[in-house]
């Protein structure tokens, strides 16, 4: 056991920070406050990600055969941590580099790999993730969207699938070119499949849902007799759970939210110091919030350590998610308690951004209570 960074890891962090300092525009914080799925940040990501790729910082963790540099899990994680701390200038494209790309590498056919990975490397393609449905959010198995196989007529190319159903809470859907879509393809609870579906297909309707979280984060997506080609199926039909499990393995802890939380805490304290208002009680609250962020950070590192060794995900992953949620909430509460003006106005865009996103921390990617169920089952062996 040791808690040090290697010189290479320090160098990566320094390189990413230098890149961000040099390439984020002056109005970046204002833009970032619009959230990753906004038109502005999405458009910016299509300028930013190609520059990131040119600097070798978009997909260094991808295998060299797919254009990466075989960089370590740690390097990948450090880049993600610095990006989120900066307000996530990759916009929705963090999906691509973190897990959609690697999942296509594993399960895609040669054409899918060739086309989609190339687009992701170019840094100008937006994906959405069609998982949650009105009947199933955290309970993915309750999904109802169906894709029925329609055999082709002789000589008319491959089979097709006709997709009917709807997805909800779909981030980035309005501006996405493709959807990583889950649908039922046979009877039976686990008989789902993954489609790499172009979003301009006739029969797809996207309706934005206005929310307190941010612009572009929530949508309803309706599928009415939407045709998908057999060539758009990712992996074997009915084996979608395996594909999803593989994909989720890359996103064990989700977003390193504590990174922006810590930065927000510093910003709020700086404001208090400037106002001559950082007294003993505020200091105690700030110190406490700082420890919550540190606890979350170490949990995240522990999970990355497991992943870097190709160890299976354990209950530590669920504990990490609970700790990250706690850190996010503690800082959000600190801002409300001590710098309410920064919450209620746009005086500090970054603090406002953090607060806007914090409310979703315990809901996105599986509710906090599900993580507690998993800890009870996997760590404490309490049985459910």
């Amino acid at each position: 056991m040791e808690f040090g960074w290697t010189e290479e890891q320090e160098a990566v962090r320094g390189k990413v920070d230098a890149f961000l300092n040099a390439n984020l525009p002056a109005d970046w914080e204002a833009m970032a406050s619009l959230s990753p799925g906004s038109q502005a940040v999405t458009d910016f990501s299509k300028l930013f990600c190609p520059m990131l790729e040119a600097a070798g910082l978009l997909i260094p963790h991808w295998p060299s055969e797919f254009g990466g540099k075989d960089a370590s899990t740690w390097e990948h994680f450090i880049i993600g941590e610095q990006m989120w701390q900066a307000g996530e200038p990759r916009g929705p494209q963090y999906y691509n580099v973190n897990w959609i790309g690697p999942t296509i590498m594993k399960y895609g056919n040669p054409e899918q790999k060739d086309y989609h990975l190339k687009r992701m490397r170019q840094g100008d393609v937006i994906w959405s993730q069609g998982f949650s449905e009105p009947s199933g959010g955290s309970d993915l198995a309750a999904m109802r969207t169906k894709a029925e196989r329609v055999p082709s007529l002789a000589g008319a190319g491959g089979d097709k699938f006709i997709i009917n159903g709807s997805k909800i809470w779909t981030s980035y859907a309005r501006l996405s070119e493709f959807c990583f879509l889950l649908a039922r393809t046979s009877p039976g609870k686990r008989a789902i499949s993954v489609f790499l579906l172009p979003m301009d297909r006739p029969g797809i309707t996207v309706r934005p849902i206005a929310s307190v979280v941010g612009d572009g984060d929530f949508h309803e997506v309706f599928f009415d007799d939407v045709e998908a080609l057999e060539s758009e199926l990712l992996g074997p039909q009915d084996k979608g759970w395996e594909v999803v499990r593989f994909a989720l393995n890359f996103e064990r802890i989700g977003i390193p939210r504590y990174a922006l939380a810590m930065r927000t805490l510093h910003r709020a304290v700086d404001a208090l110091i400037a106002d001559d208002a950082f007294g003993a009680v505020a200091q105690a609250a700030a110190a406490s919030a700082f420890t919550a962020c540190e606890a979350a950070r170490l949990f995240a590192y522990e999970v990355v350590d497991q992943r870097s060794k190709s160890n299976p995900s354990t209950g530590t992953t669920s504990m990490a998610r609970v700790a990250i949620i706690a850190a996010e909430r503690t800082v959000a509460d600190f801002v409300l308690d001590w710098t309410p003006h920064l919450f209620a106005s746009d005086e500090d865009k970054m603090v406002a951004t953090h607060h806007k996103r914090a409310i979703a921390a315990g809901i996105a990617v599986g509710a906090a209570e599900i993580q507690l169920n998993l800890i009870a089952r996997d760590v404490l062996a309490l049985g459910i």
Binding site: M1, A295, G315, N373, L382
Partner: protein
């Protein structure tokens, strides 16, 4: 960054594990408030465990791993100060007690050969004589005494040396608290698996599962932070670890006692052997208020101008 034990650490912990085996069994039948084990203290000393941090290839992190593990046992011995502060104070003999002021209860003081008396401008380290001590009868699960007078042979440490002693003390508190919380939680988790109510184990109720799951997460965080603090051996990490632990103690004690029912309130049942040591550690070294203030000053030095 590596969260798995190294080969040397595994050897150390395996060896410690076999030494601890008989001490992991909670005492049965009526027993007192305190389960200090002179036998465990002697075995740790004879086995060279208390000098681990000065051994080649080992350091404060290895000491913290040991402190946490030993604290998870229902019986206690003085380990934290000896292993972490001992290497800084040289010739003074283990075991060692920490006195945060004159006239106030200090853990292990009546059983130790060395005391560190913390003062505003430094630390006095010396050998207490029996006349210097007032034994204290208490419900706290540590043997307690108070220091009446500064030991005659006391050596004063100041500046960076004193800061290092204080830092190691905080790391020791954090590691010991983490182990105690783990011990209390393990005992409680087993209890809710065994105890049947309403036709099923208590642990099948989700209300209980969720609180224990939160506790498991918090205790794991305490361990990580304490180990990181020992590795870094810096003031900020030490304050983070100690503050987080001292804030966590309250919830862990409450939940463990709550889920153990009246059984957990008896002297016969061992839960108090962990929780009544934790209660003392909650306010040790000034408690979370002092740790928070010290941490804030570390992170935001500008606040001093406020």
């Amino acid at each position: 960054m590596d969260f798995e034990l190294s080969a040397d650490q595994k050897l150390l912990m395996t060896s410690l594990d076999s030494l601890l085996a008989p001490y992991r069994i909670p005492p049965t039948g009526a027993h007192g408030y305190v389960e200090y084990s002179a036998a465990l203290q002697a075995e740790l000393g004879e086995g060279g465990f208390l000098e681990i941090a000065s051994q080649p290839g080992f350091g404060p992190l290895d000491a913290a791993l040991m402190i946490e593990e030993i604290a998870s046992c229902p019986v206690g011995a003085e380990v934290a100060a000896s292993t972490l502060i001992g290497p800084l104070t040289g010739s003074f003999a283990a075991p060692m007690a920490l006195a945060w002021s004159l006239g106030r209860p200090s853990r292990y003081l009546s059983l130790t050969r060395t005391v560190c008396l913390f003062q505003d401008d430094g630390v006095l380290v010396g050998t207490p004589r029996p006349d210097d001590l007032d034994p204290i009868e208490s419900v706290v699960a540590y043997p307690l005494a108070s220091l009446k007078a500064t030991p005659g042979d006391a050596v004063r440490y100041s500046g960076k040396e004193a800061a290092a002693i204080k830092r190691r003390a905080l790391i020791g508190i954090a590691a010991e608290a983490a182990g105690l919380m783990r011990g209390a939680l393990d005992q409680t988790v087993q209890y809710v698996k065994d105890r049947q109510q309403f036709g099923q184990p208590l642990g099948h109720f989700q209300a209980i599962q969720h609180r224990l799951a939160e506790d498991a997460q918090i205790v794991h965080a305490c361990r990580n932070l304490a180990f990181r603090a020992a590795f870094e051996d810096d003031d900020k990490s030490a304050a983070v670890a100690c503050l987080y632990a001292q804030e966590a103690i309250r919830k862990i004690i409450y939940d463990c006692h709550q889920f153990s029912g009246a059984m957990g309130l008896t002297l016969e049942y061992p839960l108090h052997l962990w929780t009544y040591r934790l209660k003392f550690l909650q306010g040790e070294a000034g408690g979370k208020g002092a740790q928070a203030q010290a941490l804030a000053a570390e992170i935001w030095p500008d606040l001093l101008s406020v």
